[in-house]
Subunit: 536 residues, 2 copies
């Protein structure tokens, strides 16, 4: 009897349920279930208007994905419930919500459904920027270790910025909440009846340090006296390694899904991080690049180092036993998309022309900071630069310079790791871009002078979730064993061209000179331009 | 009996003949005569191929303009030959040719017509760059005053670079030539039978300094021993002030044109310079901007100063009695044209959107060096820069930033003059752009914080030529008197907006920081990019 695991990948607009062979990693069936309420950016379903930069969700939509998607994949595949060895999930993060002590979301209570702060705050809810600024200001002043570990930069997307926004803007919601919880853990709670929080989201998004726990009561009191006891009153304090079993599927959930009661369910997971073992990467030396609108770099090492501009280093954050590092570039596919739109060109035509250019032939170099700089410099006030334009510069040359700039950005991240003695030997690329643009992949290989391999599965996060489900069900001793069977490389690879690399090495010197002048205090032109714009 | 003057404006593709009232400056008639052989860039009319960067012309085309155009304007207007008080011409420069001692162009001799160096070298013939480099290298080493007066930069467009190219590449042409002469002076010679060279082209393009004359024999010998005696053997050494009479129309020319024999003809003139008195500007304090594909700044002062990046300061070079300064920006209309083409947008639509922006709103600043920097920095290796792009940056914002950058370029030139104590109180704009783009004009006014007036006539060079013709014919005592009648402002003006200027003052600080870092040795990125491109 063939055995299968279920992976449920919770994205921004929809959830994707995959039924996957644990012998081969192949998908037997999958179902994409859009969230009925999608992303709430302008108003609640009850009509209340939302402010600028808000992004909420309805937690019932997450249950809808399970209840619709699981029966569909079972039906499509004809696979029997007893063949399913485990269930894993992965989630966007930090996506968080207030619930009663037993897990009921506040937004489902009639007396709270009209209050925006009672709903799920999605990862891209950016309205807590003032609270993030406050956390960073006070945290730096107090020299909080939990801030230092994140390079003194708590993002507005993270847990305590969002929690502080609730405290400051709707204290009644905060008071009513028995729990403030990551959606990644909440969905597992709903599946199993157990609140079993995972180490990954807690480590990357919630200022939780293995061994040390959360920051002190004094720190929270300094942020707002009303949240001094947030840890004791609202948060779980035990966290579980990735791949561990949160519990078995409840009878109610079994009835709704058609699965067996007690089917093992793994603890929650962040989507990007789940994709790493799906690529077959379960240890140090390989940088996994999740390449889409932005680029997420995932890397493991045997030690914790402070790497410039790396926002998160979490023990066991990617695979238990290693320190997991996360870096990223804020605009990659988004930058190419900007170019296509601004220049009114068709991607296919311009790509063919850009591909025909030799490295260095355009005479251009760009800084890829169209959406700020997320890694190494960590400065959202930085902006895009193009240098070297002449009257004969064509759009295809600019496009190629933008691709090269994003590759230089990744090389800069690689070098930041190497400066701290963390070696990167190979690259692995997943996400939408590797499939869409061989030109982008070849330029990344030529610029970084490293072979880039592609994984067998393009649905890395969901496959990774299924793998963790299989581990939690005991089908594998650990995630490395699961990766050996279910994940890994496709055999397709981009190999660096030495001559191209020779020229890119010269171009990178120019990139770096610009990078350091604009980004390391040579000038504050970009900040001033933003200030002038804000005044205009 | 109303009196008229004829102005003949020799452009790059055609000549324009204007018959103009000397009482009002109004055109009674005009004729545009394209050059039958146009610009020879790839081959001679006899089929011989030309190299990269060559640009030649056929001197017979200049006569064709006279012979076709003058009869046309007489016929159109019904004006009688005796009503014409004088003829003036203006020419592109340095546009030069080899002739026999009596003026016959070598390219019209059957034995020379297949030799490219026997033809007219047009101003934009750039193939003499190696020769210009040699002149600058040797001139600097020898500390030649004639080089110092041009900020140590003899352009490849200028007379001796072109002459040296003939010496080096086709010595037989050089040997055969009785004269090497500016086309501006050659056409006057053909009209009058007198070789009367003008001080303007000689001063700006031919290293001739009033009082000092040409550089020494030693200098020319150092360039090439075969051209040691170029001054004595090939050049006239007497030069005449602008507006002076070269002579009267020959009988042969009178017969061909329908004008009276002996009609006074003024000495030659450079086109841009002739446009200045046409604007009514005949003394210090007013910067005339000739705004087209590039931008030419013309200014007069009572003294000679070494102004950073000003290529030419010529005593009497614009109006007798004043020092005439010429500066310029290498790409203005050309930069806007590049933008329209690269972004595939229609000028009208994008202009409306760009005009709706407030200063500073785009968050962008650019360096307008798409065609190098011609004034202040004088470095052709510099290239264009755009800073401040974000994912929400629209094409109309980039367009506006490019316009602002060209205005900042002009402000930088104005400040270079002011640093040397040469005041600029008002601006006057002529050329094609003022007519085409009110947005450009308003931004130039706001950035420079100076009122910009437009002249009555948009055909400034031809009108200026006619004015000099009238002066040479004795109708006016001098060019100032002619300008009072025939030239001047239209009354249309762009007045700076103080609030816009306040913001542009802040933006200009950012422009200047970029200008100095990229252009004054903070980095050599641009030079390196060109070197990498050359290697690619």
């Amino acid at each position: 009897m063939s055995r299968y695991a279920i992976g449920i990948d919770y994205g921004t607009e929809s959830g994707r349920v995959m039924l996957t062979s644990i012998e081969t990693g192949e998908e037997a069936a999958w179902a994409l279930i859009p969230y009925p309420n999608g992303v709430l950016e302008t108003a609640l379903p009850t009509g209340e208007k939302l402010g600028h930069d808000w992004a909420l969700q309805d937690p019932r939509d997450y249950l809808h994905v399970v209840e619709q998607g699981v029966p569909q994949v079972l039906k499509q595949s004809g696979i029997k419930p007893e063949q399913v060895v485990g269930i894993g999930t992965d989630f966007t993060a930090c996506t968080m919500l207030p619930t009663l002590a037993e897990g009921t979301p506040l937004c489902t209570l009639p007396e709270f459904e009209t209050r925006p702060h009672a709903w799920v705050k999605l990862w891209k809810h950016h309205a807590a920027q003032p609270q993030a600024d406050k956390i960073n200001r006070i945290g730096k002043k107090r020299k909080e270790k939990a801030l230092e570990m994140y390079n003194w930069a708590h993002s507005s997307e993270w847990f305590f910025a969002k929690a502080l926004q609730i405290v400051e803007e709707d204290f009644a919601v905060y008071e009513k909440a028995g729990k403030l919880i990551e959606a990644a853990d909440w969905i597992v709670w709903q599946l199993t009846g157990n609140e079993r929080r995972n180490e990954c989201t807690a480590g990357y998004k919630d200022m939780w340090l293995k061994g040390d726990g959360f920051p002190s009561k004094d720190f929270f009191a300094a942020l707002d006296p009303r949240m001094a006891n947030i840890v004791e009153e609202k948060l779980a304090t035990t966290f579980y390694p990735l791949g561990s079993r949160a519990g078995g599927l409840t009878a109610a959930m079994a009835a709704k899904t058609g699965l067996l009661e007690g089917t093992p369910v793994a603890v929650g997971h962040i989507d990007a991080h789940a994709g790493v073992p799906a690529c077959g990467v379960t240890g140090p030396g390989v940088l996994v690049m999740i390449m889409g609108t932005s680029l997420c770099h995932m890397l493991m090492a045997n030690e914790r180092r402070i790497v410039e501009g790396v926002a998160g280093v979490v023990e066991g954050g990617i695979v238990p036993g290693y320190y997991g590092y996360e870096a990223g570039q804020a605009a990659v596919g988004d930058l190419y998309g900007w170019f296509f739109k601004a220049f009114g060109v068709k991607p296919d035509e311009i790509t063919a022309k850009a591909a025909a250019l030799r490295p260095g032939q355009s005479g251009l170099v760009a800084l890829d900071w169209w959406n700020g700089n997320r890694s190494v410099l960590m400065n959202a006030d930085l902006s895009g630069v193009l240098v070297g334009a002449t009257l004969s510069t064509g759009p295809h040359e600019i496009y190629r310079a933008l691709i090269e700039a994003t590759a230089f950005g990744t090389l800069t991240v690689i070098r930041a790791f190497e400066r701290e003695g963390i070696q990167i030997n190979r690259l692995m690329a997943c996400g939408g871009l590797p499939e869409k643009s061989p030109l982008v992949m070849q330029i990344f290989a030529d610029v970084t002078n490293r072979t880039i391999e592609l994984p067998r599965s393009l649905q890395g996060s969901g496959l990774g979730a299924a793998m963790h489900g299989a581990v939690s069900g005991g089908a594998f001793a650990n995630i490395a064993e699961a990766a050996g069977k279910m994940g890994g490389a496709s055999g397709q690879a981009y190999v660096p061209n030495p001559e191209a690399n020779r020229i890119y090495t010269q171009l990178y010197e120019q990139y770096l000179a610009l990078h350091d002048w604009f980004g390391r205090g040579g000038t504050d032109i970009m900040k001033r331009l933003k200030a002038i714009r804000a005044g205009a």
